[in-house]
Symmetry: C2
Subunit: 235 residues, 2 copies
């Protein structure tokens, strides 16, 4: 996520959550997320650190017409490629803007790093792009979501992560933590997390199990359910 508005507290970022859900559902694991400021050096450093490390890097924000929209330039610099007005992008902008409306600021949205594929923008036309393993999307959630839908179909995906959630209700984490750790050690192919939250009824806990192996997941979930049942029966 690229944008001062998140770091200043102005905007609650919802894109990370949406992208995390979307990617997990199609079989792509999200390994890390960062929010960086609208600062070219920061964006370049983050893009280079993450694109070499992960299979894909998704960015959101900073591709509009205003002076604070510097993502395309930063990504070009990160890759060491030129950035130029792209004829395909200009054609897309012309679907929305007349020649009179297509002023220099709006034309900036047609500036795309050389060698990138465009990601169409169904809502407001100005495209995102895909360069190497980096996918650059808009920050406005509705536009980002439509771009992600287009891109999602072209991603290399793995086996989907399967999820089982066991409600522990008001049973305190400390009552099941030791037994849960044993189960986690027993089922190494299953990732198990315990998540407390405060509700109007007080603390409520959920145990979430994740695996790509359905049988293993079901066995581990069954052990967790039995554990919760045993504790419930003690009460």
């Amino acid at each position: 996520m690229i944008g001062d508005e998140i770091l200043s507290g102005r905007t609650q970022d919802t894109n990370t959550h949406y992208i995390a859900n979307y990617l997990n559902q199609i079989g792509v694991d999200l390994c890390e997320a960062r929010v960086v400021a609208d600062d070219e050096a920061e964006i370049v450093a983050a893009v280079n650190a993450l694109r070499h490390r992960y299979h894909y890097l998704f960015t959101t924000g900073g591709i509009g017409p205003t002076h604070d929209d510097i993502t395309a330039d930063a990504v070009a610099r990160a890759f060491g490629v030129e950035i130029k007005e792209d004829a395909r992008a200009l054609t897309m902008l012309r679907e929305r803007f007349s020649e009179a409306e297509l002023n220099p600021a709006r034309r900036r949205m047609a500036r795309i790093p050389v060698g990138a594929e465009l990601v169409p923008n169904a809502l407001s036309k100005a495209p995102g792009f895909w360069l190497g393993n980096v996918i650059v999307m808009a920050g406005v959630p509705a536009i980002m979501q439509s771009m992600l839908d287009t891109v999602g179909q072209k991603l290399e995906v793995g086996a989907r992560m399967l999820v089982e959630t066991v409600q522990a209700g008001a049973i305190a984490e400390g009552r099941y933590a030791m037994r849960l750790e044993e189960i986690a050690h027993q089922y190494v192919g299953v990732s198990i997390g315990s998540y407390p939250s405060f509700t109007s009824q007080g603390m409520r806990n959920q145990i979430v199990l994740r695996s790509r192996d359905m049988d293993l997941l079901e066995q581990a979930a069954q052990e967790v359910r039995e554990m919760i049942l045993e504790i419930t029966n003690l009460d």
Copy 2:
């Protein structure tokens, strides 16, 4: 933010937004945010990268009683210090738990890196801690917020960032982008962002100006307001 639950899409992170707002209000700029997995090596790498780079580093999550709570160990490893059961932390846990309830899993929450100050937890007693410039807080929002309130009073703060927001309404960003850039260049001490959002009435834009200099901010905001008024009068 430390936690698989955010990266898997299970949980919408609200802590970043809360912390961003809180810090900005007391005069601490948030420069970067990261979400990392419940993986010791990942946490160690992120803590070491960020604590050397910034004045403070705040973490949330991973300090409960279950096996996936590994933040305290990871922070100790990042600093190269031992982690031990802390007598002060144990006293805090005893406010909530009887000796019978204080099983090994719950006692884990008293394991604190050597040399750390404790951050009290008004809600569920298990403390966070403050080691060097790293402040380790719970992930449950209500607990994190109460910890941040305690910590906030002890932070070294700078002049508060002042904010002015100018509503551009339905005026397209592309219509004011060039003039806004001139204003941004003219007022170098003011950071100016333009933020589109989709509403039920269509696209709406806001221009946000931020500065520590109230007079400069007011002058720049006045120019932005006049710019918007001029465009409105053209319509």
